[in-house]
Subunit: 369 residues, 2 copies
């Protein structure tokens, strides 16, 4: 009960922009930045895992375009929060568009370097078929499968929210990024002291050499092992962010996710719990590799990581074939242009990760709050 | 004896630019284009394997810069031919410099994208130490460990030789490229019909995802799996060549060579044969992965190939991080800019490959000729 009061107080205080939140009770503080494609799938599941973690305060959710367009994604997020009984979690609008990339630039790139499998909100066809979810108008919000939300997003921008909140808890806030890094690039340019004032940056994205899995999602990496969508959507932002002075950077690339998959059996197991979160997840869940779930899980429980490696890293920008590709160097062997040391998660304990996922998404904590 | 006469006649006829060579006896015809770093090592060993193959006529050796500078390499090649008793094999000068790349451009690239491990004749330091073999003057020929040659290279350029010789045997000549593809780019621009008039192009170079081996030579690919020196030395030439109308292209990338190594035991075994070739190889041999030996072997005996894959391919040029990197696409999924279907050798029978290497480099055929 004390926890519930603390969380409510925190939300109230944050909403008025005044004081530290539940920092006092020793909880881990995180700002979630995510693109939110659909009500089901990896993006939404991962945010729910963070919301459900008992020792974590999600200070706010910043939504930016990527897998989908921002306005539709915000509506999906608000509706999710309603359905799972977490209306107090504030939602902020991040960037609508990448710094430089665009649908037209991406099409020009494809004419030069070949068709892309996935280009997020720009994906007008998939597997040779027109894609039903595609709409060219970024601001269109089509009818949602989960229904329309009553909640509203905050008036403050996601970027201002990040800057304000990080400085309200110096050295304590983790920025957890599930999509492109555009918002962080914007925030870093507005506030050059942002990175150093955080606890750490954790991001899902990039790839090194994802191996073929027992599903088709790793296939596109066979010929482009270092090109991954979150970095491709806004390569310039990713490069900028990877040159900021983070105390620590943890990356969950595609590689360790190739051995994960959110199966129907997992969804069914979660659905048995009948909690609001479990019902939401089981109702809308889609079968994908657990890209973002893994990024949530290894932050929640670092002991899931079986192998990681520190290296220097950047993301290729420009007009070349490697636009959006992960660049890396051994420590001490980079170009020396301010590239950062990144701790790259390479292998995880998949069974324990699945158990944690089921546990978090089945738990009844949220509605009891 | 008939074979010896035929070969002598062929050399004579080719030298006068007049008529088909040993084509008549059904031998496979090959033009070897190679960079020739040092008297020992992979480059020279591979050329010796081709020279020793009983059913093959090496119509000439074109020497271009790459691992070393052309003038020094030509001297090494001529001296090798003297010592192994093959003075009739004509040697031609290929390109001294790449189309666009240069020592200065490579240094600028390194300042932007990090230090390279191997940059051929431009490698002024290695493993943090100044490199003894380095000389900034491309035209300097230092004293050779094998002694100075008496033989001379042909006056005709390697490019003219290629064009003339391919058209003398339409559809019969294999172009076997052990180094950069500069000479082929030059020849293709002089003669747009060259590629279609060959039998095939076989080249060693490029990389996809070489795995760590029990030696350190694959380490540099951990962070740059698609960047390989032969392509990097002249990325523009490689890209140009991969858009020409070859009837067939076979690539031996670094990948299958990571499980090969020319050990002291192999050199010792060859040395027991006491033939001129065996003595030369054993005397100067250096321990490297068998990069070019493998490219020779799979052309000589395609049954060594355990796995290969056809794909579309290009090499990245420009000023980006991926300069010189292998680009590939599944068949039918390329940008459609004239990129070629390449048969990429992915795995080989290493024990049989080693046996073939020992057999060819031990044999006494050459001196008996």
């Amino acid at each position: 009960m004390i926890r519930c009061l603390a969380a409510a107080l925190a939300a109230l205080l944050l909403a008025t922009g005044s004081a530290p939140s539940s920092a006092a009770d020793g909880h881990r503080l995180v700002i979630v930045d995510q693109d939110m494609f659909g009500p089901g799938g990896s993006n939404m599941n991962s945010v729910l895992m963070l919301l459900q973690a008992p020792d974590v305060d999600v200070l706010g959710i910043v939504v930016s375009s990527g897998d989908g367009w921002r306005e539709e994604e915000i509506a999906q997020t608000l509706r999710m929060l309603e359905l799972v009984g977490r209306p107090e979690v504030p939602v902020y609008a991040g960037a609508e568009f990448p710094l430089l990339n665009s649908a037209a630039r991406m099409k020009a790139w494809e004419r030069r370097y070949g068709p892309l499998v996935w280009k997020g909100a720009w994906t007008d066809s998939f597997g040779g078929q027109p894609r039903a979810e595609y709409h060219a108008d970024p601001f269109l919000v089509p009818p949602l499968a989960a229904g329309p939300p009553s909640l509203k997003a905050q008036a403050e921008s996601g970027v201002d929210f990040m800057i304000r909140t990080v400085h309200a808890h110096p050295g304590r806030v983790t920025l957890w990024m599930g999509g492109a890094l555009t918002d962080l690039a914007l925030a870093s340019r507005l506030d050059p002291g942002l990175a150093a004032a955080t606890r750490e940056l954790v991001f899902m994205g990039g790839s090194f050499n994802p191996v073929a899995a027992d599903n088709s999602f790793a296939d596109e990496y066979a010929h482009s092992p270092r090109r991954e969508f979150n970095m491709l959507w806004d390569a310039e932002a990713a490069s900028a962010v990877l040159h900021e002075a983070w105390p620590r950077v943890v990356q969950i690339p595609v590689d360790p996710t190739t051995r994960t998959f959110f199966s129907k059996a997992l969804y069914a197991e979660i659905g048995q719990a009948k909690t609001p979160v479990a019902s939401y997840v089981a109702r809308f869940g889609e079968g994908f590799p657990m890209w973002d779930e893994l990024a949530a899980a290894v932050w929640l429980d670092p002991s899931l990581v079986k192998r990681s490696q520190k290296m220097l890293e950047d993301v290729a920008a420009g007009d070349g074939a490697d636009y959006g590709s992960t660049l890396s160097w051994p420590l001490g062997r980079g170009p020396g242009l301010g590239e950062r040391e990144v701790e790259v998660v390479q292998d995880v304990d998949v069974p324990r990760f699945e158990r944690l996922t089921v546990k978090l998404l089945s738990a009844g904590r949220a509605p009891a709050r």
